[in-house]
Amino acid sequence: MTAAVMATDLVKDYVLKSETVHALRGISFDIPAGDYVAVMGPSGSGKSTLLNLLGCLDRPTAGTLILGESDVAVLNDNQLSDIRAQRVGFVFQSYNLIQQLNVVENIQVPLYYQGNLGREEKQRCRDLADMVGLGDRLKHRPSQLSGGQQQRVAIARSMVNNPYYILADEPTGNLDSVTSGEILDLFDQLHEQGRTIILVTHEDDVSERTGRVIRLMDGEIELDKRLKPLRNGSPSSSATADLDDEIVMGAESAEDLETNQQGGNG
């Protein structure tokens, strides 16, 4: 099984004036491709720090964080930007769509920064909007959408670059319970398709729907518990395997994925 992330002795210190804050005190974990993980913990536990590291927004002070073949710890700013554009899908609590862009343009943004925005890619963005149920609102601006709809756009955007994993930071934090349920259903659906999802939350009923809980406390892993077995041998496993292949091969377009699937089936 290919790992989406491998963290070894991950340390992150912040130097504030004279004082050093030990946000992460050397944690290690693997997240295999296709996993659905909830990262939990009270505020100050190092949850946000871990999220920033997993999102390649920051570098660890010590230890290694391996994404595919790259160690995030040794990448420079441009390389971090590129890896975010190509390998990470972000979903934020407050959606974080760009106000002056419409739905389909918002979905396109990571591809634009990959420098990979052709006719096929644009079509895929429309397909993704369709998949999250916004196929009839492609030209709407974020301000014309409800919170749930905006979060759907954000989820579509997080998938557009075929990331190693989707990193969701309190994705239901701003939503009512009904809409939250719909969004979590969507995550379930993505998980079914073989996507790797890392979800940061402090709500137990959210974490219960995932397959694994990692609980942080004072910069250390307090608990790493698997709730459901990692999907293996299920009907969608071929897609999962192919997704892994695809990541290893570095292929990016949906067409490649399809080709691989056909190859896998035959």
């Binding site: 927004l57 890896i83 975010r84 760009i98 002056q100």
Partner: protein, 444 residues
């Protein structure tokens, strides 16, 4: 191609962002707009005045050297009953005989005289000269003929009128063959010709006013000397004042343009006796032309400085707004960074936005600049009807000026506006790109 497409996308994105705040963007553009338009306007007006001045100087004749009598200050003149000063006939002969470059010389004597025909009167200027005068001053005959050598030889009592004098004296009649009266001398002169209208030339002889030909009546110099005598008496404040001026002006023409400067030097040397008396002034149109060109250059530099200041102000305005925009859009910057934008992409995004603003300002400014001739002409027409007297007091080079768009000013103004966008956009853009994506995402 990919570069272009990406640039185009960035530009479209910039335009979209700018359209989110149309009022703010409009006000930001205003600074550049005014700067660019003022560059084009100022240069067009400057060019117009300069061309008009050059035209007037050129109408004096580039190969001419004009030696003119000026009335010296009273302390030099003394308090003799008859003031004697100015150029003399023997000096005229000396110049013609001794300076080889001279191709043609025209002696001129001018006296202010009343001219009358029937009930119509004109306060005119009686000009005595030779037939060459008409060619030397580019006067063209409209009807009849100009004076000829025989008229001068035989001291005929013939005269030629300027178009304006003819119109005033003979509103309903044909002047040719009629006799006009100079009541101060009780003399009659027969009209043999009427001239075409002649626009005023540049100021010469130390006066600010242009040489005006509209009040002139021309007679042979020989006739004038015979009839008026040497001394001209004018009544001023109850007493008579006598003035003896043999020649008011000598217009000399040299063979070639290269001869102008050496000949003018010889002439100045020959007339050195007048230096102390301060009663002769030598005007070299060619020198004036050179001076006018130097003045034009200085004017251009001066205007350029003014325009640079206004563009600087516009640029600071742009920078101010862009800094505010960057702060306001901190979150958007964070999102873009999180989604994989390199720092350079953020820089180019904001830089393109600033440049788009300044390009829009530049284009609108150029368009507004092109309206300059239209507005100036209309504006002057309006002023001439409303403030007639004040407008007449202005020099001819201003009132007759036609604003001329300097073609080079358009690309220069436009280029500067883009440059302003780059220079004043780079700092806000770098500030945007330097932001820590984590901090930026947290920004409310």
């Amino acid at each position: 191609m990919g570069m272009l497409a990406s640039l185009w996308r960035t530009m479209m994105l910039g335009t979209k962002s700018l359209l989110l705040h149309p009022m703010r963007s409009g006000l930001t553009v205003l600074g550049i707009f005014i700067g660019v338009a003022s560059v084009i306007w100022l240069l067009a007006i400057g060019e117009g005045i300069s061309l008009e001045a050059q035209k007037q100087i050129a109408s004096l004749g580039a190969r001419n050297i004009i030696v003119r009598t000026v009335k010296p200050p009273s302390e030099v003149l003394g308090d003799a009953r008859v003031a004697m000063y100015g150029l003399r006939h023997d000096e005229y002969d000396m110049l013609v005989d001794t300076i080889p470059q001279i191709a043609r010389a025209v002696p001129i004597r001018e006296v202010k005289r009343m001219i009358r025909f029937g009930p119509n009167e004109v306060d005119g200027r009686l000009v005595g000269s030779t037939p060459d005068y008409f060619q030397a001053t580019k006067l063209e005959v409209d009807r009849g003929r100009i004076l000829n050598a025989a008229d001068v030889e035989k001291r005929k009592d013939f005269c030629v009128l300027s178009k304006e004098v003819a119109q005033m004296l003979f509103p309903y009649q044909d002047p040719i063959g009629r006799r006009v009266l100079l009541p101060e001398n009780n003399d009659f002169y027969e009209v043999v010709g009427v001239l075409k209208h002649r626009t005023a030339t540049a100021a010469i002889g130390g006066s600010f006013s242009a040489q005006d030909f509209t009040k002139d009546i021309y007679i042979p110099l020989t006739t004038m000397n015979q009839r008026l005598g040497r001394t001209v008496w004018t009544r001023r404040g109850g007493t008579f004042e006598g003035e003896e001026v043999q020649l008011n002006q000598i217009t000399l023409r040299v063979h070639r343009t290269e001869d102008v400067i050496p000949a003018s030097q010889l002439i100045k040397d020959a007339l050195r006796v007048h230096d102390d008396k301060m009663d002769v002034d030598t005007v070299v149109p060619l020198e004036l032309l050179e001076q006018a060109k130097t003045t034009r250059m200085m004017f251009m530099v001066f205007m350029g400085l003014i325009a640079a200041v206004s563009l600087l102000v516009g640029g600071i305005g742009i920078m101010n707004i862009m800094l505010a925009t960057v702060t306001e859009r901190t979150r958007e910057i964070g999102i873009r960074r999180a989604l994989g934008a390199r720092r350079s992409k953020i820089i180019s995004q904001f830089l393109v936005e600033t440049i788009t603003l300044s390009i829009i300002g530049g284009i609108v400014g150029v368009l507004a600049g092109l309206t300059c001739p239209w507005f100036i002409t209309r504006g002057r027409d309006l002023l001439e009807t409303v403030l007639e007297e004040q407008m007449e007091a202005l020099p001819a080079s201003v009132t007759n000026m036609v604003p001329t768009i300097v073609p080079i000013s358009i690309p220069i103004a436009f280029g500067i506006s883009v440059l302003v966008g780059v220079v004043f956009g780079i700092y806000p853009a770098i500030r945007a790109a330097r932001m820590d994506p984590i901090e930026a995402l947290r920004h409310e």
